[in-house]
């Protein structure tokens, strides 16, 4: 049979394709629907948080920081409860990372504050002596892309029925709603409102001035995102 295949490139290619496609079908398909269901307490990102997530991706934070707590005592001691599949239901793309040059950030919102992040992003080694993380000073100057975040929210709401403007069950039995504006102007306004809350806890005068002038610096969006990781 192999001799015959070697003389018939078309059937050879078909045979190769069948053999390599097999594993993907068996491993990936069966669990697809199950894995994408959110657990109780999981909320979709707000416009500002999503813009911050884009800043995180733009700077490849995931190259050094994981967002995946494995079920070992040493990891739950250090980072909190181990990760559950449903907690990632609204993560597109996933940001598990593959290398921990820095610590895991899956639940960083539980133990770090706006103030801590501001100081740390400006000069990591001043906050954590010995840190090899570079400073991210340009995030204090660049403006976050709120429009693109809003476009992504609209897209996932339409295409994947992500529940914006819907009551969601929370872990403590209460209900929560993540509002999504009807227009891009509305989205900019609500992102700015969120940004004002973050900027109030910050010291950098340029950032405060920018937010007062109606701009959202990247650092504000990023901190909103990091604070949402719980």
């Amino acid at each position: 049979m192999f001799h015959w295949l070697e003389k018939n490139p078309f059937f050879f290619a078909v045979a190769v394709f069948v053999v390599i496609a097999f594993a993907g079908l068996i491993e990936i398909l069966p669990n697809f629907a199950q894995a994408s269901r959110p657990v109780i307490g999981t909320k979709p990102y707000t416009t500002l948080e999503l813009a911050g997530r884009h800043v995180y991706i733009k700077n490849s934070c995931n190259a050094c920081h994981s967002q995946l707590i494995r079920p070992f005592k040493s990891e739950t001691d250090r980072y909190g409860h181990y990760s559950l599949s449903g907690e990632y239901a609204y993560d597109r793309p996933f940001l598990w990372g593959s290398k921990r040059t820095g610590p895991d950030l899956m639940r960083v919102g539980n133990y770090r504050t706006t103030d801590w992040h501001e100081n740390h992003m400006k000069d990591p080694a001043a906050v954590v002596p010995g840190s090899i993380m570079p400073a991210y000073t340009w995030m204090f100057k660049n403006t976050a892309d709120i429009d693109t975040a809003y476009a992504e929210q609209l897209t996932v709401m339409k295409a994947f029925a992500v529940p914006y403007n819907k009551e969601l069950p929370m872990a403590d039995g209460s209900k929560a709603t993540v509002a999504l504006a009807d227009t891009v102007e509305g989205a900019r306004a609500s992102a700015l409102e969120e940004a004002k809350v973050i900027a109030a806890d910050m010291k950098d005068q340029d950032v405060k001035d920018a937010v007062t002038a109606g701009q959202v610096p990247e650092i504000v969006a990023l901190i909103a995102y990091l604070n949402s990781l719980k």
């Binding site: 190769v16 491993e27 994408s36 840190s131």
Partner: protein, 493 residues
Amino acid sequence: MENRPLEYDYTVAKWFMLSTIVLGIVGMLVGVILAWEMAFPAVNTIAGSGLAEYTNFSRLRPLHTDAVIFGFTLSGIFSTWYYIGQRVLKVSMAESKFLMFLGKLHFALYLLVVVAVVGSLLLGITTSKEYAEFEWPIDIAVVVVWVTWGMGIFGLIGIRREKSLYISIWYYIATFLGIAMLYLFNNMEIPTYFASGGIGAWYHSVSMYSGTNDALVQWWYGHNAVAFGFTVPIVAMIYYFLPKESGQAVYSYKLSLLAFWGLMFVYLWAGGHHLLFSTVPDWMQTMGSVFSVVLILPSWGSAINMLLTMKGEWQQVAASPLIKFMVLASTFYMFSTLEGPIQAIKSVNALAHFTDWIVGHVHDGTLGWVGFMIMAALFHMAPRIFKREIYSKSLMGTQFWIQTLGVVLYFTSMWIAGITQGMMWRAHDEFGNLAYSFIDTVAVLHPYFTIRAVGGTLYLVGMFLFAYNMYKTMTSSRRVEESELQNASPMGA
């Protein structure tokens, strides 16, 4: 006329040869910068704090991986295809104007994509998925480049004179099909600009998979991009170049059959080993782990077949630096495909995952196996393409030893770094509390990061020697006759 040897047309092979060298230097230079940044963070702002956004570790890291994978390695794969393809199919590109046009178009489009990738990654336009960072416009361009190459492959096969496909051709076909399938499915994404009716950045997209599913598809892709980018086409090269250069027949045809079909079947299952102890179902993790261990068989099948091809001819290893490169490549292949399965065992992975040991594993495979094999292939092709002898044998030998030392420093330091950090993360004191804060586990790595940076720099120095040797070979080396080009490549002192 019938007995006159075919005049092969190496135009496209030559162009890709140049891009292999240039992109290799670029990708490895970025890698070396990254290595020094980890050892000495001040290097992050080496071009001034104004440009720090474009020189800091995180912005450059995807540029390094993509430049060496899709720049250096892929160029090498294309270059060797446009050389080997004609020779084993016994047909010249010059015989078909259409195939010649396709080949040139392939190169031109490829260069355009390279420019787009470098620009967009520096600007931070990325999907974040490793080795699939490109946004949708580039993804579409990549598909076009790939289809152009595929049409070239099957076009050449269509007009072949040699009816039986040689082993290398099997592997090139598999490379084409495998990457096509993986790339398409992993990059399923919706452009948000169009879906939202014209809001925001036009190039932005959102993945069609979320969370755990996204991770599963990504590592099915990520692991097998290694399979079909770093293993399959490199095996295609060694199956052609080692027998050619040494003048020895491939040791066992049956072993090559077993290794090929075994590799095709087993490799795709192993992606799950990137997700051990994550939130993907346990049975998938176990499958990934088990198949990773099984993967030793087909991998070693090819590698042993190559080493046994040298049976009785080991004096050639001492005599020829070109054979040295290939034999060491094959040895590193065995080494790396044993190390990988060990890391895929769950209890080992619990320690190794997220540490530098993984980085070490990647680099003993890529620097030792992929890099050495591609450079050996270029060395073997150069005299036949340019009709000149390799400029300097001693320079080649020097390069070999410098780079070997570089690789050894690289992976040994990363082993120690990875295992040290993994052990420190999990260490508890007598009261059951964590023994070390995270920063303790970073500070301890400084010496190993420095050794690694030295190792990487040595490898880069070797790359420059390689580029110089190749440049001299192309331009000013002694001309050789067809009769000198039988087996062992002619080399100057």
